[in-house]
Amino acid sequence: MMTLKGRVVVPGVARGKLLVIPDNVSFYGELEKRDLSGKILLVEGTRGSTVAPYVIYRMCRRGVAPNALLIATRVEPMIIAGAVLAELVLVDSLAELNPGLNLQALQEYNGVDVEVDANSASLARITVPAIRR
């Protein structure tokens, strides 16, 4: 089992299947086309767009938003606005708080059940169970 640390941006507790995308992603025109329900999405970063809050809210209304969004770098304001509107748990700064974090390698854990505890004042804990190699 491993525990990753992150900075709480929008608090809450979430569980779901890990999906790692080791890239900068955009909600507008990109993630909105996917069904991310039941997922804990971990991305390198987000490419902001002023429409992003509407897209995240729309995904939430259609039931295809992830249960939590984890960002390795710093989150952008428009993603925060979207997460507040969609009541999506949001955690960032994983790279800074977990030295040596390698998203490419973490893709091996895609599909495992993870738990995000982002209820504390500032520090989130993401529990990832061990997998059989």
Binding site: Y54, M78, I80, A81, A83, V84
Partner: protein, 399 residues
Amino acid sequence: MYLTQIEERMLNGEYGEAVRKAMEILVRIGEALGAPRLIPVTSVHVSGISVNNIGVEGVELIEWFARNGARVLVKRATINPMGFDLDGIMPRDSREWALQLRLLNAFRNMGFSTMVTCTPYDAGNRPGRGEHIAWSESSAVLYANSVLGARTNREGGIVALAAGITGRIYLWGMHLDEERMPTHLIRIVVKDDVRNDLYSGVVGAIIGSVVDGIPLIDEGYRVDEAGVRNLLAAAGAWGSLPLIYLPGVTPDYRDARSRCDTCERLEIDDREIKDFIERVGGYADENVDAIFVGCPHVNTSVLDYIMNKLEKCGGTKIPFYVAVGGHVPREYVDKGLRLNIRVVRGTCMVVTELSRLGLESIATNSMKAAFYLPRRHGVQVKLGELDKLVSIACGAHGG
């Protein structure tokens, strides 16, 4: 983040669910940015008004705010252009128009002015020097900071809405003196014939493309009001700058210039400006499908100028669109139709569904439009200053 008692009560839901949500947006973003507290704002301007962009759920979200107690707490609140013109001059789908009217109605119910425009400073929302505001249209943000001396970051539409509902924004970025200090000193070295409305837009586009900081244009480069607007709008489209110090325009220019001796230096000359025009699409001639002026929206003095010229040559020979704010009187639309000009109020070519018009090439003097039209609509752009566009409209022998 430090919150006052009343801000705490907003966040706890004592003023309704919409105010709570709006306050939560501001607090979460402010905390992530490291802002120490919130500050009152006197004015907001909200973008993201086109239903083509935000969809039916976006409309429902704004309606949810209006229904759950959201009311404007600031003196002046305006909204950006929408997906259709107010008078039906351009074609519109009746279902999408109905959705657009629902959105306008929700904003009206919250207390917003619905004179949709990207130049709110021409429509009664004109903050003064030093006022803290929350605006979210890039060209208007640059105008507010650089011309009016007001203070705003380049906010997202939903953040500007949250600021309007709570009367507050996080203390960060352009609200702070130290963040407004110039970082780049730009010298514009051009001959007199490279100073019109088109070339000033190109200067803005180049600055926006290359500068990541706060540019200050050195003494010796002066352009008129229309030139200033084109320059700033272009800088906002080709980059993400919030403020450019302009000689003879920006209220705090002298003080900023005196602090710019250690700025990074950059020079822009005639050749670079003309090369940029060639790269974007080259100069306009009579072989274009349409002419478009009004990005940002033109004021009535430019509109009068265009109409007087076209009246003298008997009206335009090719489709001519002029985008203006919803505050411009309806008479201009009718007068335009007599001259074959389509004056579109409350929208522009960038946010509308241009594909319905079947245009392949458009001539414009706007370097902001020149950024968005090819990218959003696949349209080829040709460039010309306003006088050139008017003479093309009049026909080779008519101008």
